[in-house]
Amino acid sequence: MGSKWILEYAWLIAFLPFLAFAIIGLYLHRWPKISAYLSIASIGISSLLALGTAFAVFSTKEGVVYEAAMRWLDMPGLRVDMGMLLDPLAAVMLMVVTVVALLVQIYSLGYMHDEPGLASYYAYQSLFAGSMLGLVLANNFGQLYVFWELVGVCSYFLIGFWFGRNSAKEAAKKAFITNRVGDFAFLLGILFLQLLFGSLNYGSLATALEGYNHPATLLIVALLLFGGSIGKSAQFPLHVWLPDAMEGPTPVSALIHAATMVAAGVYLIARAFFIFSSSSEAMLIIAVVGGFTALFAASIALVLNDIKRILAYSTLSQLGYMIMAMGTGAMSASMFHLMTHAFFKSLLFLAAGSVIHALANEQDIFKMGNLYHKMPVTAGAFIVGALSLSGIPPLSGFWSKDEILAGALGSGHIILYLLGLMVALMTAFYMFRLVFVVFFGSNQAEGNPHESPWIMTAPLAILAGVSVVAGLPGSPLMKYAFGHYINTPAALHVQPGLLTMILSTLFALAGIGLAWAMYQQKLLEPRLLVGKVPKLYKLLINRYYIDEFYAWLVARVVDKSAAWLFWADINIVNRLVNNIAFFTGRSGETLRYTEDGQVQSYALYMLGGIVVILAAALYLSDVI
């Protein structure tokens, strides 16, 4: 019991980065270096606290659950708290977020060292860390939504960090607006919850839901909430913002658009699993959306040339994997994958950043080559990440991916299982296509690339180490401890059998082998393959024309109708009013000719008036 006291102070985990943000924003923006150190110090303390919290939460066999809250918005009929709900789920997320954020912020010291806006960069980083941790700690949907939007706006600022570029400006805008579309549904879901159950607190909702028997309503609520996930976790059809978000600095992509923020959608489903799991139709839809996104994004990643975009589509695909796992009920497997993915994907992004940094912002993989000898640490780290992502045992990705596949199989979704295997093959292929071309390829990069400074490689090394071991808690070696703690009664937990493991490993190895054959040994010329299916290639390289479709929708439908409405406002609503004014004016114009300036005519009018009034008075006095 000795370590429980730390739980009462867990709110500091989210509060410290906010404090750092406020201090930087108000006082320190002229001193970029001090701002950076302050930001790193705050997230550093937060990560220590998070570790302590996790230690306390996992100190008992069942896992400790601790809840505390203060009122934030309070009136009869609506109450939103700022609270914290500490349980194994939150503890894992707290650890992941603080550790990755800390490493990314340290790495940024090297990556962004000559950036003029360094102070604001760290201010946004702190704001993001605070918001993300607040989101994780939330004990009710109101608070969740508040921080949900805040991480969105941080993402907006950081994608548009180099605001001088038009592409960054557009990407930031697109990210925010696309997320807003998802949030529209999410907010409606929250409104429904408040209306139906009169509370937004997870615990009270779970209790209230037990006796609730109205499947159609539950389906609607679950799907509306899932809308938020679709936006934030960039699932089809709202995935378009994530690849463009790569316009931001690479450490940002690593932290926000790979490891933490985009996983918030998955976290939401895990948190509200009691709602989702009570509607089997919703679960099926979630699984299908996730599975489709996984396949769809992986297919695009096969043909791209931009190193960050390949990783972005890979993120999409892996998020689809997690969402699919949620849909099949394998909540713990999904969260496990979220954790391992956070580590190895941020590792991949940071390593890619190191490459881009060394090559003066070159991002085309075919303009890179043979970097293994020039940047051994970066290359080693990247390969560890790629192996982990491909699911090669005993790296972390292997354990989590297998659990997802086993979950799909165990819940009877054979098609999703096959789809998952297919995606695993594709993932291994595109990752090692990248590895072979960039680190072992024969193309020569321009300039003289050399290894990045230690401040960048140290986080890489740490993350690589974590990526290797992060799978252990979910492996037989630690008796599936992860699945033991992160579980709800409604969730399905299937431990992968030996056959599943061997099969998925074989698929991954096949992918790697294919990449090796095509891009290292040149046994199979990629160009010939493209020539065989030119239409498919065109479809893939244009990302299924979905961005074009949205652009058309906005320009042709939304903007056109906006212009039409404005026309109507000026020419109908306004003209109506102006016509009334015009009529008044015109009547005056006409009547003024009765005013001829002759006093005698005026007197005559007065006389007429008097006569009329007299007559009326006489008549009325008779009537009344």
Partner: protein
């Protein structure tokens, strides 16, 4: 201590006293004129903050009451008092009034006349929120119209429409609104006289009477037309974008910030409070029109290129939230409507202050003329950003509190309409981010290199209004408890059935 002084009268007449002093200054004394304007509005601001703090929430009801009989035959008395609804709006008036003085620091011509009219305008608007007498309410409302007209046609700017047109349109709409209002007030007075036999213009006394249903519906319809016009309710909104575009910065700030809110305040304080049955009958229609405001105006924003038109139409759109909050007629939604009025006021004033500043320096308001201004003017950019994010309802800023509360409240009464209303958050994000992106971000444009960033007095609106936006958003508990104390009292006294149901079932934790 506060209760012994006529605090409200002091707050109310401080700007007028300032104006009186300025009248006796020679017009060349520019600096004293500005300092007196700033000081008098600052005193009002300080007093209203004091009132905000000193108001006893556990007691509720009208406090700081002042009462001097004036026209006995009509039951009119100079009566002041504030409760949880009027305090935020009084505070809002003074926040914006103070900022508006600084936003007009660079006014170049007829400085003396400008500040005199501005100060009268501020007092006039404040009076409508402070009084508890229907006649005085109307009187102050009429006091507002004249300075507005003069300020627009003399110091305004002509773009799509000329400033004379804009001023005339604004004034005519305001007067049409007041004509409906006057009819309603006279009808109320006569009916109340025939029921109670005592002439009275006291709002609370009128609310204590039970008017027949038919009369309530009829009179509330008039009130709704009058106040709705003032609040730019669709389709009576046409004055708003043109008016703001033509008006000088300070007038746009006060007009969009506070004057519009007289409409919403009147609907709650006079409409719902005195005529609850009429309100219930007409409310669904108002809710439908509110959707017109939200979606229609937001769509039009998408096609606008003039910054002031964007904010003008956007304020029409935001008033839709207030209207649907009022139309839902329950405690939560009315709370939301009040905080939304406050939040929108601060946000719109900040937006107009920033636009005015930019226009003053660049002489254009066309979005396409700008780009990458964050390079040259980082402070202005953060002001724009703050106002924009507040406008699209970002949590952590006070506007979110309003939107969220209104949605929760309105969803209880109008399912479909609220769903359409929530669509507004997407459209708002689209036009706000487009505008901000095109003005502030993108490559540096050399032609704006000589523009000066905000400095000295220009920073005052940003600091004052910006900190209120953030404070209210981060810590809404305090102001919401104040508002709730006011709304709850009205709601309980009026005794709308659905409201009591809300209080009983809601709030479970």
């Amino acid at each position: 201590m506060l209760s012994n002084l006529p605090v409200l009268s002091l707050t109310l007449f401080m700007p007028i006293i300032g104006a009186l002093i300025i009248i006796f200054l020679p017009k060349e004394e520019i600096r004293p004129i500005k300092y007196i304007a700033a000081t008098s509005t600052f005193i009002s601001l300080a007093l209203s903050i004091l009132i905000y703090i000193a108001y006893d929430r556990s007691l509720g009801g009208m406090q700081f009451i002042e009462h001097i009989p004036w026209i006995a035959d009509l039951g009119v008395s100079y009566a002041l008092g504030v409760d949880g609804i009027s305090i935020p709006l009084m505070l809002l008036t003074n926040l914006i009034g103070f900022s508006a003085v600084y936003a007009s620091w660079k006014v170049a011509e007829r400085i003396k006349e400008f500040f005199i009219l501005l100060l009268i305008l501020i007092s006039g608007v404040m009076g409508t929120f402070l009084t508890t007498d229907l006649f005085i309410f109307f009187l102050f409302y009429e006091v507002v119209v004249i300075p507005i007209y003069l300020l627009v046609i003399m110091w305004g700017s002509s773009k799509r429409v000329s400033k004379e047109y804009a001023g005339m349109k604004l004034t005519i709409y305001l007067l049409i609104g007041s004509a409906f209002l006057l009819t309603g007030i006279i009808a109320l007075f006569i009916k109340a006289y025939s029921i109670s036999g005592v002439p009275s213009m006291d709002i609370a006394a009128l609310a204590g009477l039970e008017f027949p249903v038919g009369f309530q519906i009829f009179t509330f319809a008039f009130m709704a037309l009058g106040f709705g016009t003032l609040l730019s309710m669709f389709p009576f909104h046409a004055w708003s974008p043109d008016g703001y575009a033509g008006a000088p910065t300070a007038v746009s700030m006060i007009h969009a910030g506070v004057l519009k809110k007289i409409g919403g305040y009147g609907l709650i304080r006079i409409g719902i409070y005195i005529l609850p049955l009429g309100a219930q009958y007409i409310a669904p229609l108002i809710a439908v029109l509110a959707i017109g405001n939200i979606v229609y105006a937001a769509m039009i924003c998408l096609s606008q290129k003039d910054l002031k038109y964007i904010v003008g139409y956007s304020s029409v759109s935001h008033m839709g939230y207030v209207l649907i909050g009022i139309a839902a007629l329950n405690l939560v939604s009315l709370n939301g409507a009040v905080i939304m009025m406050f939040a929108h006021g601060v946000m719109a004033a900040l937006f107009f202050a920033m636009i005015g500043n930019l226009y003053e320096k660049s002489h254009t308001r066309n979005v396409d003329d700008f780009g990458g201004l964050a390079h040259q003017m980082p402070r202005l950019a953060s002001g724009f950003m703050l106002a924009g994010l507040a406008s699209l309802g970002l949590p952590g800023l006070v506007n979110f509190i309003g939107e969220f509360t209104i949605f929760i409240g309105a969803f209880k009464e109008y399912r479909i309409l609220t769903i359409i209303a929530v669509l507004g958050i997407v459209l708002t994000a689209v036009y706000i981010l487009r505008t901000l992106g095109d003005v502030l971000f993108g490559p540096r444009r050399e032609e704006w290199d000589e523009l000066q960033d905000l400095q000295g007095p220009e920073l005052v609106p940003l600091i004052v209004l910006g900190s209120v936006i953030i404070l209210g958003g981060v810590y809404p508990l305090d102001i919401m408890s104040l508002i709730n104390s006011g709304v709850e009292q009205i709601v309980m006294q009026v005794g709308l059935t659905n409201i009591q149901a809300t209080i009983l079932t809601g709030g479970s934790f």
